[in-house]
Amino acid sequence: MPAEVVWKTLFVLGLVMGVLLPLLAWTEHKQSAFMQAGRITALRAEFRRFTLGALLRPIADLEKRLVKRDRVPAGASRVLHLTAPVFMALPVLIAIGVIPFAGVYRVDDVAQSMVIANPDWGILLVLMIGAFGTYGTVIAGWSSNNSGSLLASLRSAGQMISYQVGLGLSSVGVLMVYGTLQLQDMVVAQDTSFRVFFFLEKLGVSLPHFLLSFPFVLPAWGIFLQPLAFVLFTICLLAQSGRSPFDAALAPSERVSDAPSEDAGGRSGLFYLAEQVQVVLIAGLVTTIFLGGWSLPWVSTDDVLRGLTPLMGASSATLVCITLHFTSFLVKLLLMIGVQMAIRWTQPRLRYDQVMDLCWKLILPLSLLNIFVTGAGLLLVGVQA
């Protein structure tokens, strides 16, 4: 195995497991308190408890989970019950590997792509892993011989399969615009700017000068080129992950609990890990496909390198460029994680029939519409994909 794959893997795993997950666990406690308990109390609590000690909490949580007793319920299918958390956590951790955290750079005349794996069919790999994740829930729910878990897993399996369709169809428009399935290539395609009224220019309309400069020049990010797909794709991802407001499978007011309700100890920790990594994965995917990934708004990689190379030499310029891109990626990632948490704590849960209606009666027709409109638009401006 090439050495750079090893260090990239270690870097991404370290970032996700060592930095983002503890931060997420902590933020989720704090943000839920802030959003549910009202402004003043929460703010006061924020001030008082904002200590380093609170950030060490995840370690205590981990220790508590590891020493807890874990037993196999009567009548359960032993092997499947014990391995279910692996089915759940492994696919999510693999999917993290295709998200590019910085761009492609020439180091000693060799192009270095800052992503662990960049398969030809990157987005298909993500969809594939999402499809495979269904097994984790279904097996966890079935194997523990608990009717509540079984019902929950049936609900979430139905939901996941349905939203898989929406997820695939809503990403087609984006694929048409970028003309690639590779996630790194998608970000490279977004690493530029476009004039908002460029289609009028294509049609031969001469525009006043102010329409061609700053506020009307946007970064060529998916969110501006495919706004509808952005909304649909994000909703589908959230529903796929089964966090509220799409947690009809959990629904503590109607039912016992989630599919893994019989799982305790370290194995419940793996379920928890899968859920949290999923939050990071969703944020990473939306960032990569719709928010320009690592790219900086209005300033392309070439601009940065051309501007910095005379000042500090080629190698330091590349280094600064990598740092800037990684910071940009991290900021967008954290923003998307924040948006997910805000959605989680503000939106009421959808009933199960509403979840299904949303997918089949709204998201599916709208994604199809988006595909046709995108196709017509591409024909109109004469873009060859």
């Binding site: 069919w121 594939m128 279904v138 399996a157």
Partner: protein, 166 residues
């Protein structure tokens, strides 16, 4: 033995074992389905070794991700337990299965050996671009006919399950 050959035999062995022993002989229906999924995954692995990456992805996406999940759904709904299945004819099945297994093992061991050189793949083989171009130029009629067929099947399914007004 080179790495691709080793992987080929590993995936092949998993596929055969999962398909024959787990799907055929396990009494637990969910266990059998897990075997079926392992078989699908190994097939996808063999596709990757052959350079057909897109087919491998679709194999997992469609078969493992959708079709088998629906099987699992049905099995869980009916909650088939061990005692719901017949117990007779077990001995005959076992003896027959063992004989067939020995025969297949013999045949398989004769085939075992270096796989020979695969022919060089054309540029972009197995990628979505080449497959898409082939589907929508040379085979466009077939694609359209299959699309029509699938639409008919969906409409037929809807009509069959629709509640008739009294």
């Amino acid at each position: 033995m080179t790495l691709p050959e080793l992987l080929f035999y590993a995936f092949g062995a998993i596929a055969v074992v999962a398909a024959s022993i787990m799907v055929g002989a396990l009494r637990s229906t969910v266990g059998a389905i897990v075997g079926l999924v392992s078989c699908m995954l190994s097939l996808a692995g063999i596709y990757v070794l052959l350079g057909a990456h897109l087919i491998a992805a679709i194999q997992i996406l469609v078969y493992a991700g959708a079709v088998v999940v629906l099987f699992l759904f049905v099995v869980m709904f009916y909650d088939l337990r061990r005692d719901a299945l017949p117990t007779g004819r077990q001995r005959a099945l076992r003896v027959g299965g063992a004989l067939l297994g020995v025969f297949l093992l013999d045949r398989g061991l004769r085939l075992l050996g270096p796989l020979g050189q695969a022919p060089p793949l054309p540029e972009g083989f197995g990628g979505y671009r080449e497959l898409g171009l082939a589907l929508f130029t040379d085979y466009v009629l077939v694609v359209e006919v299959v699309a029509l067929l699938l639409t008919t099947a969906i409409v037929g399914g809807l009509i069959l399950t629709k509640k008739r007004p009294e």
